[in-house]
């Protein structure tokens, strides 16, 4: 089992029990020439654990930058504290109104554009699987890792918290992919699966992806992506098919 996904990318795996299953609330630490960048900041519940792991991985140096996928509490819950803990932590966020989102002094990244951060190029991608308006997927050109909050997640069992897709004997299960997306991206009940598949395929044809790094799932290795995406689209079809437009008396 590995938490070092690539030479530069370290997966900080945190998870929570949700109705019997486990759900990740991950963050990822990227190193570039002794500078350190965190993708998302995790939940306030995990603040001390994440802080300790960052201290350990950076030999006490701490963070130089944070990129937020979006400013939802499980993703942005530690931004202020981490910026207080380590001086001069640059915050990059896709939201246009940081004060409304409870964060301050953020550099805005534009979805559809790229930026160099700690000497490394990142692209910000319009996510076909997300719920909040200002969510961005983040592509790290240095390690070919695609960060896909809140899509590409799955639930996992006890003992699988530090698995990547390579460690599951039969891969990440289709059922866990379906259940996660059913519960987390509620709008999928209206989805046209073909349209979603086309949008996902466009992204993966444009970017070489060695790892997909979800916030709410186990990381997916490049060789496992085809199977995962097939399960994801099947899951989306199932979510949509199961949503019976309910009768008025059932919606009261």
């Amino acid at each position: 089992m590995r938490t070092q996904l690539t030479n530069d990318t370290h997966w900080i795996s945190e998870c929570h029990k949700t109705d019997g299953a486990h759900e990740h609330v991950n963050v990822y630490l990227i190193e570039e020439d002794d500078d350190y960048l965190l993708i998302d900041s995790g939940s306030f519940h995990d603040r001390e654990t994440i802080k300790r792991k960052i201290e350990s991985e950076t030999d006490g140096q701490g963070l130089d930058a944070i990129i937020l996928s979006h400013s939802d509490y499980p993703h942005s819950g530690n931004v202020s504290e981490f910026r207080s803990e380590w001086d001069d932590v640059t915050l990059i966020a896709s939201c246009g109104s940081p004060r409304l989102q409870g964060i301050s002094n953020a550099i805005r990244c534009q979805i559809g554009k790229s930026m160099e951060i700690i000497g490394r190029e990142f692209s910000f991608i319009d996510p076909p699987l997300a719920d909040r308006s200002h969510t961005t997927w983040i592509y790290d050109h240095g390690d070919n890792v695609l960060y896909t909050a809140d899509g590409f997640g799955n639930y996992h069992g006890p003992g699988e918290c530090k698995y990547t897709s390579r460690d599951f004997p039969r891969g990440i299960t289709a059922e866990s992919v379906y259940e996660y997306h059913r519960d987390s991206l509620v709008w999928l009940r209206y989805v046209d699966p073909k349209r979603l598949e086309a949008a996902i395929n466009t992204i993966f044809s444009e970017y070489k992806v060695d790892w997909v790094a979800p916030v709410h799932g186990n990381p997916i290795a490049g060789e496992d992506l085809s199977a995962y995406i097939a399960d994801l689209i099947d899951g989306a079809s199932r979510i949509s098919a199961e949503y019976e437009s309910r009768r008025p008396d059932q919606m009261q």
Binding site: V25, Y73, D131, S133, D192, R195, A199, R246
Partner: protein
């Protein structure tokens, strides 16, 4: 100051930042825009004052002092009995701790839908959904699973006495500075499909990936079920006339976003 739009029914509003930039890239000025005006997409909270009192949503942390001042200006010595959080997005729920600190007797009411409530500290609240209601004495609110939403932990609300629907992130739209706290019927700018797209083409970007007839069927169902006299959105002006017309107009909004894709982001 809050506006009392009906007896005991107060509208509390945060204008948010200047959004004029969202229309400056368009080749023609929108028909709903007046030259020189500033465009806003507000955050709204609603306060119901009956025998008991209830606040629906909290505004963003940028207006933490303001929401407390406005609550105090209406409630005075009265207590806040219920704080209902529609969903845990920061512009809706960001002042929950401050309000509960100021009104420690208030019951936190939160959506029962979705999971991971502890990640938002909503697990300490009373979780409600379809079939649940609160009688405030003078007002009765009913809770509903949100139909069109972003966060999975989401809730819509309606109020029986005034026949108001609170559709949260649905039916939002930009307004002009001069229209602040005006009912939509009091302004002279039109509710065009383009105007609705300025909001939904950013917030409900996922309409780009949907089966349009399925969404339209649910819009019809919402009109049939609720048939509201008042629509009190979280991100637009309060509507008190022709509500079914505007709900129905959302079908064209969905068609357009589906055909043309999202137009940007908001937040």
């Amino acid at each position: 100051m809050p506006r009392e739009i009906l007896d005991g029914f107060y509208w509390i509003k945060e204008n948010g930042p200047d959004r004029t930039g969202m229309i400056e890239t368009e080749p023609d000025s929108p028909t709903w825009y007046k030259e020189g005006e500033t465009v806003r997409i507000p955050n709204c909270a609603y306060l119901l004052v009956g025998d008991k009192t209830l606040l629906f949503d909290t505004l963003s942390p940028a207006s933490g002092d303001e929401i407390l001042e406005r609550l105090n200006s209406v409630l005075g010595d009265r207590d806040l009995n219920y704080l209902v959080v529609s969903h845990p997005d920061v512009p809706h729920a960001g002042n929950t701790p401050r309000i509960l600190e100021a009104y420690p007797n208030a019951t936190l009411v939160a959506p029962k839908y979705g999971n991971g409530h502890h990640l938002y500290r909503l697990d300490e609240g009373e979780l409600v959904g379809d079939g649940d209601s609160i009688d405030l004495g003078g007002f009765v609110v009913d809770f509903h699973e949100a139909t069109f939403l972003d966060a999975p932990v989401s809730l819509w609300m309606s109020e029986r006495t005034t026949n108001t629907l609170f559709p949260v992130d649905w039916l939002g739209f930009p307004h002009l500075d001069s229209e602040c706290l005006s009912l939509f019927e009091e302004v002279d700018t039109p509710m065009t499909v383009d105007r609705l797209i300025e909001f939904h083409g950013r917030v409900m970007f996922w309409y780009a990936y949907v089966d349009v007839p399925k969404v339209k069927a649910d819009i019809d169902r919402l009109i049939e079920i609720h048939d509201p006299d008042v629509i009190a959105p979280a991100h637009g002006l309060v509507i008190t006339e022709d509500t079914d017309v505007y709900m129905d107009r959302m079908k064209r909004v969905v068609e357009r976003i589906h055909a043309e894709g999202r137009i940007g982001t908001l937040g």
